[in-house]
């Protein structure tokens, strides 16, 4: 019976590796990346996947082998009466410690460029989350947010391609999280805080904006759309929106709250 149980544990190794090998052919892997910084994140993900994969295979294989070999039903040798090995303890402390420290240092640059090195530009748009929509506020012709010529819009975020985008992220009520899966961007929107979010989209197209922090019963449907356009199309879109807003008689209600 011991052999059968050992093989059951071997299935963990085979299944685990198999799952990650087969998954990409069913598209079960990181979604398409259309950002300038995303490759650093994806690289780290793959790097850690390979590293942990090696450790996983090694430990599970040894685990299986010991179960197989030292099954009481077959093992005729006397039990190895030992309380441990100082040398081994040192080895399997130092090596993982060095590896973990290396991973820690290796990732710092990617983190810093995603969250710490804010570009020195004016905000492209203010995104203000509320139950259950994304309220957008573009600066208008004067390029300054918070003035009377601001452009208001909801859920449909247009940005120019290949340009650094800076978003002022706010929340009007509860926590939300601004998640762009295809741009490897995620940042909670926190009531009472204005949090800068920056990225550069590298391909035109339409992508999901997902709310990734529980924000109430309608959390699942707090969906927005990110439209990445050429500079030309983007400018044209802005003009049209601006014209449409000017034609409406009453100023939008959201102008009062900043």
């Amino acid at each position: 019976m011991g052999k059968i149980w050992s093989l059951l544990f071997l299935l963990v190794l085979i299944g685990g590796v198999g799952c990650f090998l087969v998954a990409p052919s069913y598209n079960l892997t990181l979604p398409q990346d259309v950002s300038s910084h995303g490759h650093a994140i994806d690289h780290l993900y793959v790097f850690i996947l390979v590293l942990t994969g090696v450790v996983f295979v090694a430990t599970q294989a040894v685990f299986f082998w010991f179960l197989w070999k030292y099954d009481a039903a077959n093992n005729r040798e006397p039990v190895k009466y030992t309380h441990g090995s100082h040398t081994l303890e040192i080895v399997w402390t130092i090596i993982p410690a060095a590896t973990l420290l290396f991973i820690a240092l290796y990732q710092m640059n990617a983190w810093a460029s995603s969250k710490m090195r804010m570009p020195n530009i004016l905000p492209t748009v203010e995104v203000s989350a509320r139950q259950f929509e994304w309220r957008l506020r573009y600066p208008g012709p004067d390029q300054i947010l918070g003035t009377r010529d601001d452009l208001f819009h909801v859920n449909d975020l247009h940005i120019p391609v290949n340009e650094e985008i800076l978003i002022d992220l706010k929340s009007q009520d509860v926590l939300h999280s601004f998640f762009l899966p295809n741009l490897r961007v995620k940042q909670d929107a926190v009531p009472g805080m204005k949090i800068p979010v920056w990225f550069k989209a590298t391909e035109t197209g339409s992508y999901d904006i997902v709310c990734a922090e529980l924000c109430g019963w309608g959390h699942y449907k707090m969906k927005g759309r990110l439209v990445v356009q050429s500079r030309q199309d983007y400018d044209r879109w802005l003009q049209e929106m601006y014209k449409a807003q000017a034609q409406t008689a009453s100023p939008p209600a959201s102008e009062e709250d900043n």
Binding site: I41, Q107, Y220
Partner: protein, 619 residues
């Protein structure tokens, strides 16, 4: 209860332990007499308001197993919605008549909130510390009861208000708290924010407070008992790893819990008396203006995780300890690296206090701070790795017996490797940007808490059941239970990793209207079917549990040929535990020792003449 006749066995290091024990012993002995009168008084004081640690432990065990079933059924309702969103929920249809038999989205948020709440606060924490901590600590250190038996009884009965508050919240507006088990303000603190943020959330906070009070009482008791009431000769480094892990867990509880309790009261005040600890200026939530401002929502997250991250270790360390003991018994071999095992438990506990910020990498916390939390989080993987290597080292060269408790303990090790390695992805801050709040996280903590802790707990139940009830559980049924649970849990939880890699978010009632996630529905349906089967096969366990209580094979004192003290008592042990005064001569893992002809060498067995007694743990 035999009188204390240990003087003749006295040896070098046991002198101080002996003195301390005398003190604790006489105190507990006095109590035992008092309790004896209670016993004569009747059923209520013996089985209901009992002060006997064994009865209290079994009370905790029964209560938590019932809640385990409730939590599992809540999970199935969550899984149903993820597989077939907005379809009629079988059996629950009549509850949702207003929605035509479908589940409402707010019900979905309630379900995952209460699933996590029940599993964490009413199952895992109390089953480890409350059930096994209570049952095992006095038995394994050779004491006749806990240091404070009345406090111990109260620690159980203070769970009942918690049961009432959590259970009762299902019958209030919103059918239960629904702002996640983390209860982040302002969703949780503003009654206008969600249907479940009204009375249900107040009851949730009250329930949490009572769980905290109960845990704190237990924690004080465990620390005192372990420090003061060890049998003569039971030095700290002769304690089984179960006791070490329970001890360190109790220390963790004692230091972390006050913070959560305080934070809970702050949120209660925000809700009931209009303070503004967590509400900033000018919030307008669901058209309701909150006048008091000046608060910070992130403050809650810091306070909450300052407790709840150490709580993650509170939820795994005792299982690690119990698994270590089980593995040594069924490998018939000393545990590999006893002291490194102890130090790594302590290391996990110590580092556990400085990693809470890794739950907040994308919360808006200063990213510089995120970097320091990232380094400490990376480092906490180290003691966990050391433990895994030592478990594997224990298997090396053993005589492995694949009994049911061992199978569950082995699966703990195998699954903990997965849960530990997936943690490294999240510790890496840039990767966490993408996988935060996705199913990758869900996969990670289910591998640690279900595939790890819960499997460890199953192993512990099969292992100590003969001691608790005097009869063995059925091996055949146990193995069927193990094999099916082990295969199905992997089919449920392993695919969550790849879902997370796609970015599939947690807590969405219907994720499939997003283009990015639409194609993930068939995989989710497969996982839900496996989850339904996973809960169904637990029937085998429930049947075995109750059947064996009456018809199982009688166990005898030491059915597993184990060394530790609890196996030297009658099964089940009577009031006062030991029918002799235990004296400890050696560490708990002397299997295959050349000193004796048997392959085990109980801690209480006197060494043969001429063999010198090692001063502490023998190496």
């Amino acid at each position: 209860m035999s009188s204390v006749t240990v003087g003749s066995h006295g040896h070098g290091d046991s002198k101080s332990g002996h003195g301390k024990h005398d003190h604790g012993h006489s105190a507990a002995h006095g109590h035992a007499d008092a309790h004896g009168h209670g016993h004569a008084a009747g059923f209520i004081s013996t089985y209901v308001f009992s002060k006997d640690h064994k009865v209290i432990g079994i009370q905790f065990l029964f209560s938590t197993l019932i809640w385990f079933l409730v939590g599992g059924l809540l999970a199935l309702a969550v899984r149903w919605q993820l597989a077939w969103p907005w379809s009629n929920v079988p059996l629950l249809e009549h509850l949702y008549t207003a929605e035509g038999g479908q589940m409402a989205p707010e019900t979905y948020t309630m379900l995952f909130t209460m699933h996590a709440t029940v599993m964490i606060f009413l199952v895992i924490i109390p089953i480890l510390a409350g059930a096994f901590g209570n049952y095992l600590i006095p038995l394994m250190i050779g004491a006749d009861d806990m240091a404070f038996p009345t406090l111990n009884m109260l620690s159980y009965w203070f769970m009942w208000p918690a049961f009432f508050f959590f259970g009762g919240s299902f019958f209030t507006a919103g059918h239960g708290a629904s702002s996640g088990w983390t209860s982040y303000p302002t969703l949780s603190s503003s009654p206008a924010a969600a249907p479940g943020s009204g009375t249900a959330q107040t009851m949730w906070l009250m329930g949490l407070t009572f769980v905290g009070v109960s845990s704190m009482m237990g924690s004080v008791n465990y620390m005192t008992t372990i420090i003061q009431m060890r049998a003569p000769g039971m030095s700290m480094f002769r304690m089984p790893l179960t006791i070490w892990s329970m001890f360190i867990t109790a220390v963790l509880q004692a230091f972390a819990l006050p913070v959560l309790t305080a934070a809970g009261f702050m949120q209660l005040m925000d809700r009931l008396w209009g303070t503004g600890f967590f509400t900033p200026e000018g919030s307008i939530i669901n058209n309701t203006m909150h006048t008091a401002g000046g608060g910070q929502t992130l403050l809650w997250q810091h306070l909450f995780w300052f407790y709840s991250h150490p709580a993650v270790y509170i939820m795994i360390l005792p299982a690690m300890g119990m698994v270590s003991d089980i593995i040594a018994v069924f490998a018939r071999k000393p545990i590999f690296g006893y002291k490194p095992m102890v130090y790594s438990i302590a290391g996990i506990a110590g580092l556990g206090f400085i990693v809470w910020g890794h739950h907040m990498f994308v919360s808006g916390m200063n990213p510089m701070l995120g970097m320091t939390f990232m380094v400490s989080t990376m480092m906490i993987a180290l003691p966990s790795a050391i433990k895994v290597f030592n478990w594997i080292g224990t298997l090396w060269g053993g005589h492995i017996q694949f009994a049911t408790p061992m199978l569950f303990a082995l699966s703990f090790v195998s699954m903990f490797i997965i849960g530990g390695l997936s943690g490294i992805f999240m510790a890496a801050t840039p990767v966490d940007i993408f996988i935060h709040d996705t199913y990758f996280i869900v996969a990670h903590f289910h591998y640690v808490l279900f595939s790890g802790t819960a499997m460890g707990v199953f192993g512990a139940i099969y292992f100590w059941y003969p001691k608790m009830f005097g009869r063995m559980m059925n091996e055949g049924l146990g193995k069927i239970h193990f094999a099916t649970t082990f295969i199905l849990l992997n089919l449920v939880f392993f695919p969550m990793h790849v879902l997370g890699a796609v970015g599939f978010p947690r807590r969405l009632a219907d994720p499939y209207h997003y283009d990015t996630f639409r194609f993930l529905k068939p995989l989710n349906q497969f996982m839900t079917i496996c989850a339904l089967l996973l809960v169904t096969v637990q029937v085998v366990f429930i049947f075995n549990f109750f059947y064996s209580m009456f018809f199982g094979k009688t166990a005898g004192r030491n059915p597993w040929r184990s060394n530790t003290l609890e196996w030297q008592t009658p099964s089940p042990p009577g009031h006062g535990n030991f029918d002799f005064q235990p004296v400890v001569y050696r560490g708990p893992y002397e299997y295959g020792s050349p000193e004796v002809s048997t392959d085990f060498y109980p801690q209480t067995q006197e060494p043969p003449p001429g063999v010198s007694n090692p001063p502490a743990h023998g190496h």
